[in-house]
Amino acid sequence: MTASTLKVLRYFSLCLVLLPLAASGQQQQRVTVNLTDAPFETFVESIEAQTAFRFYFNPQWTDTLKITVNASQELLPQVLDRALQTTALLYTISERNIYITYERPLMAELPVNFFNDEKVASGRNDNYDYTEFERRAKQVKQAEERLYIIGVRTTSLEGNATVSGSITDLESGEPVIGVSVFIQKPLIGVVTNQFGHYALTIPRGRHELLIKSLGMKETRRQIMLYNDGKLNIEMEEDITPLKEVVVESDRDVNITGMQMGVEKLDIKTMKQMPLALGETDIMKVMLTLPGVQTVGEGTVGLNVRGGATNQNLILYNDAVVYNPSHLFGFFSTFNPDILKNVELYKSGVTAEYGGRLSSVLDVHTREGNSKKLEGSGGISPITGRISLEGPIVKDRTSFILGARSTYSNWILRRLKDPQLKRSEASFYDLNLGISHKIDENNNLYFSGYMSRDRFKLGNDTAYQYSDRNASLKWKRVFNSKLYGVLTGSVSQYQYAVSSTRNPLEAFKLDFDLNQLNIKADINYFPNAQHTIIAGASMTRYGLSPGNFQPIGSASEITPDKLQSERGIENAVYVGDQYELTAKLSIYAGVRFSHFQNLGARDVFTYPAGAPREEGSIQDTVHYSSGKPLATYYGAEPRVSVRYSVSKNSSIKFSYNRMRQYIQMLSNTTAISPTDIWKLSDRYIQPQLGDQISIGYYANFRGGQLETSVESYYKTTKNATDFKDGAELLMNHHLETDVLTGKGKAYGAEFLIKKPKGKLNGWISYTWSRSFIQASSVHLSETVNEGVYYPTSYDKPHAFNFIGNYKFSRRFNFSLNMTYSTGRPLTIPLAKYEINGTTRLYYSDRNAFRIPHYFRTDISINVEGNHRVKKLAHSSWTFALYNLTGRENAYSVYFESEGTEIKGYKLSIFARPIPTITYNFKF
């Protein structure tokens, strides 16, 4: 389902290579060695031949080393002293092992977490009871040293076998996503998928599995692999990072991973960014990534690589979200406390995703803690939130529940302004996740999501909208090479506008969209070279695009209801990631999608060659229930290629084709709660997008610095646009107001990232353009004389800087800087008088721009004390949004006031905005 099976080809860190040798002998042994300028390996062989000792060392340190030593029946330590005295290497003897280390000695008693020597648990306190800690350490150590026998014993160790299983958090029992599981020789690795599942195909025999993930303590397993078999692994959370350091999941994944144009962010990264309203907001975090833009701050819609806001597939645990915004977009609907991670695919989308052109935003929530009850929450100036998680049946069934709401109504009632005092604004969102382990091979996951907004100004029109979805997933592991997931989901988006101010005209307008989806996926790992994901999906859409009804008996409103829409979208897909050589890897996939807009429905017809206008409606054709009134289908090829130029650099290429059968129609600049969604029909054809993308990735200083350049070119067919003055609400013939045109977008994204260290963060610069063309023989269906013109989210230059500096484990400072070109704007060119009043004549659409945008934010995180065990953990975040107080234009508008035309610039966060947020965890 995700890019979970990325192969990790190589990994470098402080690792020791195991040289398996027969071992026997005594502690106090004497050896005879006579070597002059001999390779270190020769020295090792010589000693191992004479004794039962085994050497552990990193060949990187010794491959250029020449040993000169002459000893006759001398004690081993003396020989080692002499051999290594001119080098930076040190040795440690423990039982029958000799550990060679670089620069620093090894403690004779190996600390529990030696391999993370920089990350020893901190904040130890004299009062602390270590018993539990020690018990667990012992348990971990035992697991690491024990030899696991995988598969049925055989005598032959020829060929490959697959070891698979799941990786879970020792503490909470939650699966851990994105963990690298690999062996060093040959370097073969995989990454766990969203269920924490991995399947690694390696040569049979003795191996040391290394298991690494950021934010988790590295661990290892000794295995003897005879045949396909299972190994579940528990990992411990690394306490040191305090959930604040992580920037990117896997080191070197940018070089070695197949994916390009994919941004993975986990909640830990997102939580440390300075934000306007005291709340971690994934949509806002996405905006700091190269290639992601928005029309204005405080709006939720993302424009990914020059795509429209409706071209993003937003998945919440595999269910589609239609409007992820609260309060006009000042907040997104995803509660940060229960989120696990977010992946944004800008290109290189694999075949299992489809239905939107520009991007996939895949949001995953955590699974509840399966071992003990936990809670967390936060209080910010506008909202309060709380979440609770814990086992229902220990180690089998767990839940996670999140709730968030605003006290803005309470604030409003305290305001002096009578207009605001009578106003209402409220929202809430609720999330529930339940995971259940049926048995070793079967898991069930339920996810429910609901968000609702309501606002009303004075006694005027009230707006209300809600987005709900639920999904149920059944994962079954058939064997170590095959598992399948069956997912059913339902999504509903609805809004209502009502007014009762004038009883005679009291009305309510409802919009309703329902989506039902069933899909089955299989993940198959036939051997080390191939990872195959295939599946089928079926989606039913039901829309009630508008129902206008009177309220109350006095209302004279004529009830009006737009015809409902029904559609069905089916898709089958298969994709294979094939590793041809260690350097070259190819992903090839295809999705075949098929869509039908189904009756019952009356469709207007227009004479051929005439412009589609209300006046030109020729006839009405009735389609009976279930009869398709428009059918579209086609293949969507997806290809990605990765070539590793060297161990620190690679080139990637990808090509995608996407089809979109449901679109949002909007003639406002930002997503508004009253925008309508429309299925493709006879006149509004499905959007078709092609993107090619090429990128170069290079890491420096051992992965300390990651750099990349990605460029893309995109074309879109049937992008929706609208006529000047289009009316989209309660329109019985949208085809007369909506235009379809061609779009093109291109750009280059530059990124330098320092993922780790005291100072970490990234700098990105994006140059991009986005255009649309609406051209027709009819003047009324042409915009800007039929030439390509900039879309309202075309912002050629964008620069982002995100920096974090850790003063200590408790204090973290973040700085965020954003610059972008102002968005395009249609402005008045001329003024004229009509009826004694000055009126405006506008320029070509989007011919001008609002002033450029620049903002700096800072934030400081202060953690409570760091005892590992205490009743409740808390933290404070102090943030200052728009530090420089720059009056960034949110919009520019013009009003005629008597005979004068006045232009105004509206800035929404026109001065520094401080916020304090208190977060707690218990």
């Binding site: 506008i382 508004s672 009253t674 009509i834 509206l906 905005i913």
Partner: protein, 377 residues
């Protein structure tokens, strides 16, 4: 659909940090040369009126220029032609015509070697205005119009209004210097009490197409903020109503949307509003304005300050200083700088006059006229 005030509202909630500033448009180099024609044929009084002007660049400080050298004619569907004569200020008109409400009409304009023609328009009969009403709100006085059409033929309406209000100068000047003599002003020389007119400057359209019956109920057409001074003594508003076609309604509502508050992210994006005129030879040339017609109905409303609830009665408190001019200094009196308010007597003898500035004693300095409107009593 989402007015800007909702954004402001959201802002005031979330951060109270919003800010609106003047914004000047980038200078446009291109010369603007677009013809604007605003025409109406009134079947009630048999007249046709058209105003021709040119659009000017927004940055141009000059107000839009009028076109005074055009040939304008009204044609009906039977090809009867009436030539309009130039009046002034870009206005061409013809009166005393027999306009047939059942015929279609169009306007032809020739200017600068080009010929422009409107579409053939349908004339609509406006139903009478049922009432013009008002109500107090916390912030001022709202004026509303009510109408209905039992034949259900109107559906789309356009209103204009002219308001008139009575006001006084802060001080009454009861005396005037005639030649060398100070005399009492005659009623004709009154400059204390004035009446002022103002025309509607907003596009007022409404429709009942969503209603079962063709009713317009309590449609707000004007708002007098508390303390505006218009209802200082007595106020009157005359509302004119026209029934318009759906196309005309679309034109006016689009024009309204694109100039009376746009630019919010939730507002429709503005665009070109094209009327029903075009260049006969070059249909691509933009021509602005609209030609419509039909019958006009009107209704007048009066409001006295005493009709208002107490909290809306704001009396003028203007600091208007009054000076004393002693009789011995009378030679220095300058009638254009100061007006005589009243005499100062010591016993029977006039020892001086109280004086004040014309702004404080001549109501005409505030834009009104002393002529009492014919409809005032």
């Amino acid at each position: 659909m989402m007015p800007k005030r909702y954004i402001l509202f959201a802002l005031s909630m979330v951060a109270l940090a919003g800010c609106i500033e003047p914004f000047s448009t980038p200078a446009i180099k291109d010369q603007v040369n677009i013809l604007v024609i605003d025409g109406f044929v009134d079947s009630s009084n048999g007249s046709v009126r058209a105003r021709l002007s040119k659009a000017v660049a927004l940055s141009d400080p000059a107000s839009p220029a009028v076109v005074d050298d055009a040939q304008v004619s009204l044609e009906d569907a039977l090809n009867h032609v009436v030539v309009l004569t130039y009046v002034s200020n870009g206005v061409y008109s013809a009166e005393g015509l027999a306009i047939d409400i059942n015929l279609k009409y169009r306007l032809r304009v020739r200017t600068n070697g080009k010929e422009y023609l409107s579409e053939l328009i349908e004339l609509k009969t406006s139903p009478p205005i049922d009432s013009v009403s008002w109500r107090p709100t916390p912030d001022g006085t709202e004026i509303m119009v009510n109408t209905h059409d039992d034949t259900m033929n109107s559906r789309y309406y356009l209103w204009t209004f002219e308001e008139t209000w009575e006001y006084t100068a802060p001080w009454p000047s009861s005396l005037i210097l005639k030649d060398t003599e100070v005399v009492y002003r005659s009623p004709e020389e009154n400059i204390y009490r004035c009446w002022k007119d103002e025309s509607s400057s907003k596009i007022l359209v409404g429709s009942s197409f969503r209603l079962e019956k063709d009713i317009i109920s309590q449609r707000p057409i004007h708002f007098l903020p508390k303390g505006s001074g218009k209802i200082g003594i007595r106020y009157s508003i005359n509302v004119k109503q026209m029934a318009i076609t759906q196309e005309s309604y679309n034109f006016w509502s689009m024009l309204q949307e694109s100039t009376e508050g746009l630019g919010g992210l939730f507002d429709p994006q503005p665009g070109k509003v094209v009327g029903n005129f075009s260049n006969v030879a070059d249909p691509k040339e933009p021509v602005l304005g609209y030609f419509s017609g039909g019958s006009v109905t009107e209704k007048r409303l009066f409001i006295r300050i005493s009709d208002l609830p107490e909290y809306l009665r704001v009396y003028r408190t203007e600091a208007c200083p009054i000076d004393t001019l002693l009789i011995e200094d009378f030679d220095s009196y300058n009638p254009s700088a100061n007006l005589l308010v009243s005499e100062i007597r010591t016993g029977p003898e006039i020892t001086g006059y109280t004086i004040t500035t014309p702004y404080c004693a001549d109501c005409r300095t505030r834009g009104g006229t002393t002529t009492i409107p014919s409809f005032w009593h």
